[in-house]
């Protein structure tokens, strides 16, 4: 069974078409980069997988079943600016907050929850900073806190929204390695980005999206300049295409 099946997905937002006829399949062990310009619908596609937007047509199956908020084994890592970093809270409590939905109303976290928090922190190598207020973390550390929060649910699918944006190259590289190893351990990882270099480096597959899926293949298969031009709406002289040809 596939980790994620998206079939003929159409999504409208505010009366305008945002996604059309999107088909995408993910297996465990894959790290798929979802590439596209701003406004291409990358975030919307992730939200559709989480069942947070109404779909107009088509379906999303998570491990063979329709996605439902709080029920599916999906770990979501939203963009860093979605999070209130000035909130007075420690790293470990942020990670614990990832289990709020599973805990349910009026239930307090128990041994199993704290063990999951410890495992998630170990996995992203943040155990040493677990009591630190999140306001005092660097950008890369913040990204890893959000990944740990998603891992606290032991998900089989991980959705990452622009994890590289605003980070320097060495930090991107380390995070890329982390995501690749999370995939190798048997999770299906879907990551949006517009950072080509980082994506080509770490992803096992690339999906080019701009309202619809324009291309889908291994990084070394996507040498056709034309699909990149269509996805990003750039001309033949764009430096972007030099990168593609060089890669």
């Amino acid at each position: 069974m596939r980790a994620l099946d998206i079939e003929h997905l159409d999504v409208d937002l505010g009366g305008r078409p945002v996604l059309r006829d999107v088909r995408l399949h993910l297996d465990r062990g894959e790290l798929v980069g979802l590439l596209g310009p701003n406004g291409a619908g990358k975030t919307t596609l992730l939200r559709a997988v989480l069942a947070l937007v109404r779909t107009r047509n088509g379906r999303v199956l998570v491990e063979g079943r329709p996605a439902r908020p709080g029920r599916s084994a999906i770990g979501y890592v939203p963009q860093r600016h979605e999070f209130a970093w000035d909130f007075p809270i420690s790293v470990e409590h942020v990670v614990l907050s990832g289990r709020t939905g599973r805990l349910g109303l009026l239930r307090r976290p128990g041994v199993a929850d704290w063990r999951a928090v410890g495992d998630a922190l170990d996995r992203v190598q943040l155990s040493g900073l677990r009591r630190r207020p999140v306001a005092e973390l660097s950008g890369g550390q913040r990204q890893r806190v959000l990944v740990a929060r998603a891992l606290a649910l032991a998900p089989s699918i991980l959705l990452l929204d622009e994890p590289f944006t605003g980070l320097d190259m060495p930090t991107q590289e380390l995070l890329g390695e982390l995501f690749a190893s999370l995939a190798r351990e048997g999770r299906a990882v879907l990551m949006t980005t517009h950072d080509l270099v980082a994506a080509v480096e770490s992803c096992t597959r690339l999906v080019l999206l701009n309202g619809r899926v324009i291309a889908d293949g291994r990084p070394d298969e996507l040498h056709d300049v034309e699909v990149w031009m269509r996805t990003f709406g750039v001309s033949e002289t764009s430096p972007l295409l030099k990168l593609v040809k060089a890669g």
Partner: protein
């Protein structure tokens, strides 16, 4: 007047209104302190402001009809809170000015309604600036009971409220009922405002919600500590404020707010990590940033504020 004289007056049966006023002021300050932590952390001061305005026509109607002021205010305030919760779900749409227009209109309506009652000028002043006399016994019970309900709900829903504060999108993806949690929080803010109106007054109640919580935020980086400090600051300000107001015969609401503001200013200057002086000191000393084995140095403390 010494504090002993004040304590003697508190037990003087001829001054029975004084302990009642103290009880209501301290209880409502404690409740506002705890609720205020969410108001400050979510940056929803304008909700408190909106509710305080909108409560006024409810008070005015209750006053003209000689019903319970707490009840009249609660009905009007909760109705407003629901409307704001519904309007503010779509964060992309800015409804601030629309809400502003309606609230000032509500306030104006309250003034027109209250002017229908004979001798309204005195009552108007009492509503706007608070008073320590004329609190009926049933309001004492109502305030205590409402305060307990508010604190109980905040405790019961604490982890859900925190999750929504941290990251609404993630909270939704976990299946939390974000919309309903917003409504419950707004209603709790409203009730905290309503039970505080009598002593503090309509104009100043926002300070009771914001100032102690903002001071507490400067003093700690831990939410649990903040939620204990804020009510402690609020309750103490209420006690000290009532004492000063009784000693010098000055309006109680104003004095309580000034005491709380003094605490805030002290925290703002001297807080161990976030105070002005502490920040200046760290900037002068420039401590080496603690390196992280995986992604390099951390940003300087407090950078994100």
């Amino acid at each position: 007047m010494s504090i002993t004289d004040f304590l003697t007056d508190l037990v003087n049966p001829d001054l029975a209104f004084l302990p009642k006023a103290l009880a209501v002021a301290v209880m409502s300050s404690i409740v506002c302190g705890v609720v205020g932590c969410y108001v400050v952390l979510r940056g929803m001061a304008f909700i408190g402001d909106a509710v305080a305005h909108a409560v006024f026509p409810g008070l005015a109607i209750a006053f003209v009809l000689q019903g319970s002021l707490v009840l009249g205010g609660a009905v009007a305030g909760v109705a407003t809170a629901l409307l704001i919760a519904i309007f503010s779900q779509n964060r992309r749409v800015r409804e601030d000015s629309l809400i502003g227009v309606f609230l000032v209109a509500a306030f104006a309506l309250g003034i027109v309604i209250i002017s229908q009652a004979p001798g309204y000028a005195g009552s108007l002043q009492q509503f706007l600036f608070g008073s320590i006399t004329g609190i009926p016994d049933r309001d004492l019970v109502l305030v205590g009971f409402t305060g307990l309900v508010i604190l109980g709900l905040l405790l019961a829903l604490h982890k859900e409220f925190v999750a929504v504060c941290l990251d609404r999108e993630m909270a939704r993806s976990m299946g939390l009922p974000v919309f309903w949690l917003d409504i419950v929080l707004y209603v709790l803010v409203t009730l905290a405002v309503v039970i505080s109106l009598q002593t503090i007054g309509n104009v100043l109640v926002l300070a009771l919600l914001i100032t102690p919580a903002a001071a507490a935020r400067l003093l700690t980086d831990r939410l649990g500590v903040m939620m204990l400090l804020a009510p402690a600051i609020g309750g103490t300000s209420a006690f000290v404020g009532l004492y000063l107001s009784w000693s010098y015969d000055t309006p109680v609401g104003g004095i309580i707010v000034l005491v709380a503001t003094a605490v805030f200013l002290i925290a703002w200057l001297f807080a161990p990590r976030h105070g002005l002086l502490a920040k200046r000191r760290t900037r002068l000393r420039q401590p080496p940033a603690e390196p992280d084995p995986v992604t390099g140095p951390a940003v300087a403390a407090g950078n994100a504020h």
